[in-house]
Structure formats: C-alpha cells, structure tokens
C-alpha cells in the first residue's frame, strides 16, 4: 500500500474495482511474489479509462516490467491499435510477452528490449497516450522527446510522481528511496507543471499519477470545422424533390 491515501480507503477502492480479469489477477500475484515494481489495479483502471477516453490507437509505454500495466492499456485498444512498450531487462520482457499472449493481446503489443533514452529516436509519433513508468532518473531527460511524440490532445501519464510522499521534504521520517531518484522526480514534477505544451494535474492515487494533456489542436481540426459547416449546408438541402420544379 502507498503512503498517500489512507489504507482503509485504498482497500475500499480495491474492493470496488470490478475491471480486472483472471489474467490480470494472475500477473499481479506473480508480480507481488517476485516483489516486482508493478502498478496497482486502481492505477490500471485509471490507465484503461484514460486510454479509452482519448480513443487511443497508438500507445507508448516506458517500463514494461512483466506487462501488467501494458495489459490494462492494450485492453483499451481497437483491434488494429498498437502498444509499443520498452523494457531494459530481457528476462522481464520475455515474461511480459508471455503475459500479453495469455491476455490475447499479442497481436497489438510490441515489447522492445532496450534503454528508452537510446531507443526513443527510432520511434516516430504521434502517440495518443504515453505512459512513463521507467527509470526515474530518465523522467526529466525524456520529457521533451516524449512530448514531441504525443499528438495534440494526447496524454502523457506518469507514475510514482509522489514517490511514497518522499517528494515532500521531511514528510517521510525514514526515506526508503535513493535521494538521487527523489530529486529527479521533484525536478520532473516542476518541469511538467511549467511545460509550455502541457496542462498537468496530479492525482494522489496510490503512488501519485501525473496526467498531462498536450495543448493545441491537430492539423485536422480546422478542416473538420469546415467540413462540419459544409455538412450542415448539405443537410439543409432537400434533394428528394424531383425534376418537376
């Protein structure tokens, strides 16, 4: 359990959550047994909601682990959608591939092994949603490259931005996290809020989730406005009368 929301409330939220399926519960159990850093079901549900809300067709994830969050994300994709997920650890990536296959999502998920800071330049956008859950010290250096690959109106979602409360000086009596990671997250949160292309809100769910939407309209938007006006004009025409006029 995290440090942000009181445990009884977290238990209440967990009990309400009806979304996970058998594969997800199985993967969560395996993750817990091996003490692997995976998100919680409540954050998973939030990811599913956000990906569905933006009609995501292309999603990028930094930090696959064993595919738990990826299953939540990919489950929101249409049949021809795609999730590209980056993982540095080869063993975890292999387990993730097996889990995606068990969840019936192998056709739309591509697990890429490698360091995000090296792999990212090979990936071209635009993505509808990017989930950042990788190396905390890379949060800041990767921010601009990720925003570049996001479509206007797309979401950059970042996990662990409250870092068990350690981002607040002196809030946690005995900090567990390496101070360099904590400093990296503090810096990242400030850059997120100040980023000219983003509008950001932080949800204190579990370990804190930052949700940032990229400003601006797509190049298509003004064309669709014009089309809408033309469609309105078309609908006002009565074409069913005949040539007797």
């Amino acid at each position: 359990m995290g440090q942000i929301v009181p445990d009884p409330i977290e238990r209440y939220l967990a009990a309400l959550n009806r979304l996970p399926d058998a594969v997800l519960q199985d993967v969560a159990r395996a993750g817990a047994e091996r003490n692997l850093p995976i998100i919680d079901a409540e954050v998973g549900a939030l990811l599913r909601v956000l990906a569905t809300a933006v009609g995501a067709q292309r999603i990028l994830e930094i930090g696959t682990a064993i595919g738990y969050s990826g299953i939540w994300l990919a489950g929101a994709l249409p049949p021809r959608g795609s999730l590209i997920t980056l993982e540095m650890d080869e063993t975890r990536a292999q387990i993730a591939r097996e889990n995606f296959a068990r969840a019936g999502l192998a056709d739309r998920v591509n697990v890429v092994i490698g360091d995000a800071s090296r792999m990212l330049h090979k990936l071209s956008g635009p993505f509808d949603l990017i989930f950042q859950d990788g190396d905390k010290q890379l949060y800041s250096p990767l921010l601009d490259p990720l925003v570049e690959r996001l479509r206007p109106g797309g979401l950059l979602v970042t996990d662990n931005v409250l870092w068990d409360g350690e981002v607040v000086p002196n809030f946690v009596k005995a900090p567990r996290h390496p101070p360099a990671d904590t400093r990296a997250i503090v810096e990242y949160n400030e850059r997120l809020q100040a980023h000219p292309d983003l509008i950001t809100a932080i949800v204190p769910l579990r370990d804190g989730v930052a949700i940032a939407v990229k400003r601006g309209r797509s190049e298509l938007a003004p064309l669709l406005d014009t089309l809408a006006r033309t469609t309105q004009a078309l609908r006002e025409g009565d074409f069913n009368d005949d040539a007797s006029h």
Partner: protein, 444 residues
C-alpha cells in the same frame, strides 16, 4: 490558336518535317524549360526518339496511323505507361513500376503517338494548384511565380511551353479544365465513362475522367478520339454559329468571379450574340449545394482508396493532401447517401437546362492563375479559399457526367489567360466539340 497537331500532320505528309524532327523539337523545349517550369517528372527522350524514327520508317513504307501519327504527347503521371513508375507525384508510390499501359495509353500508341514523358501534378490529383507534389511545384509558363492550375498542371504547362503537342490529363473536379484555363490552352473532359480510367490511379471512381489538353479544339478532339480507340478521326466541322442555342449559367456560377475574368466572359457572350447565336440565361436550382454534394462524395471515395497507406505511411504524403484525405474518414454514410441523392437531382437539372439548347456556357475558372503558396484569394470584395474558388465552376459536370471543354477566352491586364467553358448533353461529346470549334473561331 495554331492547330498544332493538324498543322504538323499536314507538313509531315508534305515531307516538310519528320516525326523525329518534331519529337526533337519538343525534347529541346523540355531541355530548355523544364528546370524552370518543373512540368515533367520523367522525360522519356531515348524511347521517344526511337519511336519517332520507327514512325518515320512506317510512313515512308506507306503505313499511316492517322492524325496522331508521330505526334509528341505527354502523359500525366497518374496514368500507367508500361515500364515506368506511376508516381502520382507522391512518395507513397515509391518503387512502383507499371507492368502495362493503361488501355487509353495503349490506344494512343496504336494511333502513332510518341510519348515524351510523364508530367507533374498535384499529389494524387487531390488539389487544384499542382504545388503539393513530391517533385516540387509546377510553375505557370505565363508567370513562374503562379500556379498552372491543377491537378494536371504539368500537362497544361507542357502543351503551352511547346514540350508536347498535346497531353493526357485526368479530371475529377476540374483537373483538366482548370489548368487549361490557367495556362491558356484547350482542355476536354469527355462524358463520364467514354475514356476508360483503367490503369489510372483513382481519386473518386465515379467522378474520374481521362481526357486531352491541346492547343486547339480540333487537336483536343483528335486526341480524344485516339483515346477511345478511333485512330482515324477527322477534325470536327464547326457547328453553324447563327443557329446555335446557348444557355449562359448565371446565379451561383457568376456570384464569385474575378472582375477581369467576368469582363472577358461577358465580352465573349456579347460577341457570340453579335454573330447570331441565340443566347439565353439559365439557372440551376440547387446550384448552391454543388460544393457540399461534391465534397461529401469525393472525400470518402478518396479516403477509402487511401485508407491502408494513410495508416501505414501517413508521413509520406504531403501534409495538405494527407489532411484532406483524413477528412474523408469523418463523413457519415448518411451524408454520403444524401450527397448521392443531390447528385442525381443536379444531373436532372443540368439535363433540363440543356433541353432545346446546344450547349451551356460559363467561365472555366473564376480567377486568373493564383500565386504559388496562396491559401486564399480576394474575389470581388470577399476572401475565398483558393481550392473552393478554383473548383467552383467545373465540379458540377464531374457530378453529372456531362462533357465539358475549356477554351481560351482572352487574358487579364497582367497577361494571365482566362477560360471559357462549354457543356454539352451527356454522351454527345462530338456535338459539344462542334459547338466549341465554332465558338473558338468566333473568339479568335
């Protein structure tokens, strides 16, 4: 205008010029001017010379293919010519090679044409200015800072600059007639279905037409006949002017027209009246809906054809064409159906306007050639998007399938050509061409 093909044919058979000399003259014009005009994507110099020499030998041995024998013709790079890439002026088509000629091109070869090259165009024929092209913009021979019109811009430029005696274009909303008007040449869109569109990259299969651009009505007619497989056509006899009954399309069609284009048009109408034509004003009742009906058909048709490449390689399109194609995915089926109903109604209204008349007449292009890069132009007192205003007077006859021809009709003070458009009854292209031949003579 000099009837280039007819004149060449006369001199060829009088042994005053050879096919090889005519082809060399066109290739020399290409060599001299193509860097400036960017009219050609591919120049087929060696093949053209070889073919011209072969045609000279044929003629020497008594084999005459007909009026197109030895005529250098350029082909819009949307049409398959065997062994060459049909680029459609797009990076999306990289690596494509046509295995065989489009049937219309095969007919041209049988008629003795010399193919000099593939002309530049607006990418996938989806635009009216020929500036969104993977090979760079085509420039207007009258003013290189201006568009030659489009989408068959390279075709029109090649004919006007003497790089070919005629060109094959395609017309889905005006893509033959618009560049013909903007460059000051003749462009003929035959009736729908007359010239096969097989082997032509489609934009909208129910609106697409193939036809010629040439320097005179007679030349355009001879190439049009060759395209349908008639290699031995004779130049059309002009219809007798004093008995011609012509309907002038007013209302919507004259509401958004540049002052100088309007003046040249009204002068032409006055002149036709003076030489005895019976000229009456006519209106198309649902004309105000033409653009909306057209858009709701062409957009989804184009998006359907491009759906796979839009998903796979969206960045290979020029941005403007890509976003226009994407728009098509946002048209509801019910609006497409509504547009189809509107299209039928418009066809009946054009038929009715032609009842008891030989042709309808209107400008071919509401503005002179626009500057390259312009998104909007001032027409009268209003600012209009370039694309809308350029399609405004031609797209109706793609919806209805009536044959239509654009011919030169004077120029603006700055020397930019204006075009006059004549429209005939469906499947009566020959009759329309006879009217156009008479009007051409009257306007000279």
């Amino acid at each position: 205008m000099t009837p280039a093909i007819e004149e060449f044919g006369r001199r060829l058979r009088a042994r005053e010029i050879s096919c090889a000399e005519m082809t060399d003259a066109c290739l020399a014009r290409i060599e001299a001017d193509n860097a400036r005009l960017n009219a050609f994507i591919l120049v087929m110099a060696d093949q053209a010379r070889q073919r011209a020499e072969e045609l000279d030998r044929m003629l020497a041995s008594g084999r005459d293919c007909g009026p197109i024998h030895g005529v250098p013709i350029s082909i819009k790079d949307l049409v398959d010519v065997r062994g060459t890439a049909t680029t459609a002026a797009s990076r999306v088509r990289e690596g494509h090679v046509a295995e065989r000629d489009a049937p219309a091109v095969a007919h041209l070869r049988q008629a003795g044409a010399v193919l000099v090259g593939k002309t530049n165009l607006h990418e996938f024929a989806f635009g009216t200015t020929s500036e969104d092209s993977a090979f760079g913009p085509v420039r207007n021979p009258h003013d290189p800072a201006r568009s030659p019109g489009g989408s068959s811009g390279g075709s029109a430029a090649s004919v006007v600059a003497g790089m070919a005696l005629a060109s094959i274009g395609t017309d889905t909303g005006g893509s033959i007639r618009i560049p013909a008007a903007a460059c000051g040449t003749v462009g003929l869109k035959p009736s729908y279905g007359e010239v096969t569109t097989d082997g032509v990259v489609p934009l909208s299969r129910t609106l697409d037409h193939v036809g010629p651009l040439a320097r005179s009505v007679g030349d355009a007619y001879l190439v049009y006949r060759a395209l349908v497989g008639d290699a031995s056509a004779r130049p059309p006899a002009p219809a007798p002017l004093p008995q011609l009954r012509i309907g002038v399309l007013r209302g919507y069609f004259m509401d958004v027209v540049d002052d100088e284009v309007r003046a040249r048009f009204e002068e032409a109408i006055d002149h036709l009246r003076r030489v005895g034509a019976q000229v009456q004003d006519v209106e198309i009742r649902h004309a105000a809906h033409i653009a909306a009906i057209y858009l709701h058909i062409v957009l989804p048709d184009a998006a359907a054809y491009h759906a796979k490449t839009l998903e796979r390689v969206p960045d290979r399109y020029t941005p403007a064409v890509r976003w226009r194609l994407e728009m098509g995915r946002h048209v509801l089926a019910e609006d497409y159906v509504r547009a189809l109903a509107g299209r039928q109604l418009l066809a009946r209204e054009v038929d009715a306007a032609l009842t008891g008349r030989d042709a309808l007449v209107l400008p071919a292009l509401a503005i002179p050639a626009p500057p390259l890069g312009a998104n909007s132009v001032i027409v009268g007192r209003t600012q209009e998007p370039v694309r809308n205003v350029m399609l405004r007077l031609t797209q109706l006859f793609n919806l209805t399938g009536h044959p239509a021809i654009s011919l030169p009709c004077g120029a603006t003070g700055a020397g930019l050509p204006c075009g006059l458009q004549l429209v005939g009854a469906r499947m009566q292209t020959d009759a329309l061409v006879r009217v156009a031949a008479a009007v051409e003579v009257a306007l000279q």
